[in-house]
């Protein structure tokens, strides 16, 4: 029994442990916090739902587009209305067959470590991307990219395997074709496993970063272009939407910006208080319902049309999104290139819907609520992302609306990955789907309509004119003739509309709310770009 | 005739299979031999920790000894098949010290006494009822107590119910394991009287396990004294207990409290001190 001798020491030891742990905590805390009440008046704080990630320009999760776009820059930039403008590349020429692009780089562009932007560096970046082609196959230009040839220090040639008109648009995206400085590359040049340093040419430099807490960006003093007004941007990581609003209300945040970063209700609340400025962007993408034509019941155009006519889109969009989204009649909103004026809207018409169903042979037994055909009830399943409150609310609304025309809708909230898996496997009746927005659309959207592997082409495969449609898509993407392209797009979009394999629901918009001392806020044209270059703060 | 014979029982607990330390295997019983004649009562005496209760369990067939035999009615208790053991149980019953823990608190007196009857005698409801009533009367309770729950009885009354249950199958022998020790004096005496009467009436044999010499003396025909897992001495004439020079017996006798102030016990027996000090 040594209890007597040991116990005092034991207790002391325990107490010491506790003290150490605690003091370790407080040390940690001393190293500064990032609050909106920063000493610098020319600084703002914004929130973002997830950690900004490792700032690697060539990979996806968990890196965040918004911060990648602050540091790294593209060769060309995407501007309002789909116009492609010079950025790091000053000018370019395209060969006759559309397979060779020769770029001239801007002179005097420097990376933040002082090195210059040269064709060699550009090639290095492209090579790193091409080394992991599999990961980037979603981006059209990568699939057709053959090689990069250095011509001289500031001139290089991009060679494609086939003509592909949206190559420039694709080069404007935030990742993976933005330029990392020489110093950022690991020895073997393969950036997929990580970079050594976040060296870019962008207007912002990462100054301070704490995983899951915040990241502070400072203005790049040597920026080649027009310097931003702001000196400092702090991005705080706040995963919960409600907490974000509360922090904004309290003044800990200057800006809430993004898609789905606040609930619609909270956004409206902020708007109605009048103490803050709120705004909505132009449509960035379309919320669409993907209808699986290979599903037995939905292979009938009449059923698809009945569903399309069978719900009050206007009321649903307004009710659920409180007017923050706009009812969509076409899959492509008018602010995108090649959007068609003459797409005929499918209007809300319950009687029409009912008659389509009657015509398809789905009859309502007297006393029954669900239509039947050959003793089978008209039951459909809608899958949706369970974490998305809007999808959920819409699913629930549709459930109620379609019941009125005798269609029973089962709704299944899934995790995103499961939703995508089932979409790819064609294992669904109805599914929420979004197009990609600027600068990816409209070419990316029609690409997945024709190209297998994304679940969309597969879902459309039961259309009678499917092969024709695919041919049109291929033609449009390779075409170098502007009017021809316009024509083809018109035909494709009209077919999709008439066949009701996409049911457009609403145009999604970005939201922003900011404290009144922020001036001159503008939404970037590129959906994934950051908005900080134009912001200024009043004294 | 010999009803029960215990031959050379050796048993121990704590044969620990612990990986960490080899525990000393403490023998609880070593080389115990005893016999009980039909219709007699053997008082088994000893201080606490002497191994009395373990021996009781061994005899009842509840704890297989590591060595030795228990022969009841000519049959080895631990060598018989399940069926014969079941039959053996009929004739060998038990009453424990703590009357409260010996009955299921959720059953009525009737159900408690009915349990052995259900298991052995397939009686009709009426017959069973009558049997229970008569048993209750035999032990000095009334048939109106049938529907009562254990908590409605006093300790003495409950012990009577335990006796009634033990009697239900008309056994040959009952092991009384400190059956009266926790009752107050007056009740103790009445229960002892009841046991005497029943013994005469049914020709029962008892193994009366106790630490109280007086109680053992008053009911037993013969006495055996246990000490540290062994039989110190067996007395067929129980009066000889008081004159024995066997140290364990002597110390037990020496530490008796007087039954009258006239016989005050003058000094603590030194023998006892040696024997029992830890």
């Amino acid at each position: 029994m040594k209890i007597h001798n040991n116990k005092k020491n034991l207790f002391l030891a325990l107490a010491a442990c506790a003290a150490l742990t605690l003091s370790a905590c407080s040390d940690d805390n001393a190293s500064g916090s990032a609050d909106a009440e920063s000493d610098n008046p020319n600084a703002i704080t914004m929130s973002w739902p997830r950690d900004i990630g490792p700032m690697n320009p060539h990979v996806y999760n968990p890196s965040q587009l918004i911060t990648q776009s602050m540091i790294y820059e593209p060769l060309v930039s995407y501007e309002e209305g789909g116009e492609v403008k010079p950025h790091l590349a000053e000018s370019w020429t395209v060969s006759e067959d559309g397979r060779e692009y020769t770029f001239k780089l801007r002179e005097g562009v420097q990376f933040t470590d002082g090195s210059s932007l040269t064709s060699e560096v550009v090639k290095k970046n492209f090579d790193a991307v091409l080394a992991n082609k599999n990961s980037h196959s979603w981006l059209g230009v990568i699939n057709v990219l053959d090689k990069i040839e250095v011509v001289d220090e500031l001139t290089f040639k991009m060679v494609l395997t086939q003509a592909y008109y949206p190559a420039l648009q694709d080069l404007a995206v935030v990742r993976p074709v933005r330029m990392l400085g020489e110093a950022g590359f690991p020895e073997d040049g393969d950036t997929s496993k990580g970079i050594t340093e976040a060296v870019g040419t962008g207007p912002w430099v990462l100054d301070e970063y704490k995983t899951d807490e915040y990241a502070v960006f400072k203005r790049n003093p040597d920026y080649w272009g027009e310097s931003p007004e702001l000196e400092e941007v702090t991005i705080k990581i706040i995963p919960d939407a409600e907490t974000r609003v509360l922090a904004f209300e309290k003044g800990e945040l200057d800006l809430i910006y993004g898609e789905g970063v606040v609930s619609m209700d909270s956004f409206n609340y902020l708007k109605e208080t009048g103490e803050y400025t709120t705004d909505l962007s132009d449509p960035v993408a379309t919320r669409t319902m993907l209808v699986n034509s290979t599903s037995e019941k939905l292979s009938d155009l009449n059923v698809r049309l009945a569903l399309h006519h069978g719900f009050n889109k206007q009321a649903m969009v307004e009710g659920i999104t409180l007017g923050l989204e706009e009812k969509a009649d076409s899959i492509l909103s008018s602010n995108f290139p090649y959007a068609q004026e003459d797409i005929e809207a499918v209007e809300y018409d319950v009687e029409k819907a009912a008659s389509y169903l009657d015509e398809a042979g789905w009859k309502l037994e007297s006393g029954g609520a669900i239509r039947e055909k050959d003793g089978q009830p008209l039951e459909l399943e809608l899958i949706y992302d369970k974490t998305d409150p809007i999808q959920k609310a819409m699913a629930e609304t549709l459930q109620a609306e379609w019941l009125a025309i005798g269609v029973k809708l089962e709704i299944a909230g899934l995790e995103l990955t499961e939703q995508i898996e089932r979409r790819k496997a064609g294992n669904f009746d109805l599914d929420f789907w979004y197009n990609y927005g600027a600068p990816y659309d409209p070419h990316s959207m029609i690409n997945v309509v024709a190209e297998d592997g994304w679940g969309v082409a597969e879902a459309h495969s039961n259309l009678p004119m499917k092969s024709e449609l695919d041919e049109q898509v291929r033609e449009a993407l390779a075409s170098t003739d502007e009017t021809k392209r316009q024509e083809l797009y018109g035909s494709i979009l009209n077919t999709l509309q008439e066949q009701s394999v996409f049911i457009p629901i609403s145009y999604m918009k970005k939201t922003v709310a900011y404290q009144n001392d922020i001036e001159s806020f503008e939404f970037p044209a590129n959906r994934d770009e950051h908005p900080f270059n134009d912001i200024s703060v009043s004294e | 005739m010999t009803l029960l014979e215990v031959k050379d029982i050796t048993h121990s607990y704590g044969a620990s299979r612990s990986f960490w330390r080899k525990q000393d295997v403490k023998p609880v019983l070593s080389g115990i031999s005893l016999s009980i004649e039909e219709g007699t009562c053997l008082g088994l005496l000893g201080s606490s920790g002497a191994g009395k209760s373990t021996l009781g369990k061994v005899i009842l067939g509840l704890e297989k000894p590591q060595k030795g035999q228990v022969i009841f009615q000519g049959q080895d208790v631990y060598a018989m098949d399940a069926k014969s053991r079941q039959q053996m149980r009929r004739n060998l019953q038990v009453v424990f010290q703590d009357s409260y823990s010996s009955v299921n608190p959720r059953l009525t007196a009737e159900k408690i006494i009915a349990e052995p009857l259900e298991n052995y005698e397939k009686l009709s409801a009426g017959e069973q009822n009558r049997a229970i009533a008569s048993l209750l009367e035999q032990v000095g309770l009334s048939s109106s107590d049938m529907k009562k729950y254990p908590r409605e009885f006093s300790g003495g009354q409950l012990q009577r119910i335990n006796i009634a249950r033990a009697l239900a199958l008309k056994p040959k022998m009952i092991v009384l394991d400190e059956s009266v020790s926790s009752l107050d004096m007056v009740t103790q005496t009445t229960i002892l009287d009841l046991l005497q009467d029943l013994k005469k009436m049914h020709g029962l044999s008892y193994l009366f396990i106790t630490h109280d010499i007086r109680a053992a003396y008053s009911i037993s025909d013969a006495m055996a004294i246990m000490h540290k897992g062994q039989i110190a001495e067996v007395f067929h004439n129980k009066d000889e207990v008081f004159t024995s020079q066997q140290p364990a017996v002597k110390s037990l006798v020496d530490s008796m409290l007087p039954e009258h102030p006239r016989y005050r016990n003058a000094a603590a027996p030194t023998e006892a001190k040696k024997l029992f000090s830890r």
Binding site: D265, A400 | D98, E115
Partner: protein, 276 residues
Amino acid sequence: MARIRTALKGKWPFAICSGILVVFFLVSILAPWIAPNDPIQVNLALKLMPPSLEYPLGTDQLGRCNLSRLLYGARVSLGFATLIFVASLGIGLVVGTLSGYRGGWIDALLMRFCDGVMAFPNLVLVLGIVGLLGPGLWQVVVALMMVQWVYYARMIRGMVVSMKEQNFITAARISGSSNWKIIRRHLVPNVLPPIMVMGTLEMGWAIMDISALSFLGLGIQPPTPEWGAMIHEGTSFMRSNPELMLYPGLMILFVVISFNVIGESLSEQFGVKRRY
């Protein structure tokens, strides 16, 4: 019953809480008949309405009847908590009794398994199971069950082992009762009441756990009304319509408090010690 009656004497909190629970259980059974509206009927024209005759507690952000959703929510919370309790108690009873009564290697094996499961902080294991099986109410229920039964088994085994040593079990054996009869007649009836008391306390936790998991998005699937999920949806309306958050919060509060008060009084009555 008699004990419950004496327990009631002079204990008004106990009486009130039993009343609340009885009401909630009735509500959850009768929800389809007493709810004024269909709880999942979306009517965007009627969103966020103040209380009216048709919608006694107003409507939520999708124009669904708040009262009806709360009533149906009782179904989910109480129903699944009861299910978890009954199922895990059932498994625990079988395993615990077998283990405690038989002893030997079966006991060792089963109890080592229980030890292993208990080596995990229980809710964390639930999260792990849900994480691997995928979020969803049934996964949550199965996970909670898988984690809970171990505790019941452990406790029941302990009680069986100590009870096995009690004289009345020995007496029953000596009276010639078979093992099955001893288990059925003596062990189970004595083991069950204290475990049920523990269960009342656990029910409260189960309801909290289900709603917490729903809050994290791991539990209930819409449009099924569940209190935790309703609170989560209601947080967006904290300022304009605080009742959307308040009502389901109060429901949880009432039910859990009731379970706790009742469990506490019963365990005092039965002398059951709380595990934690």
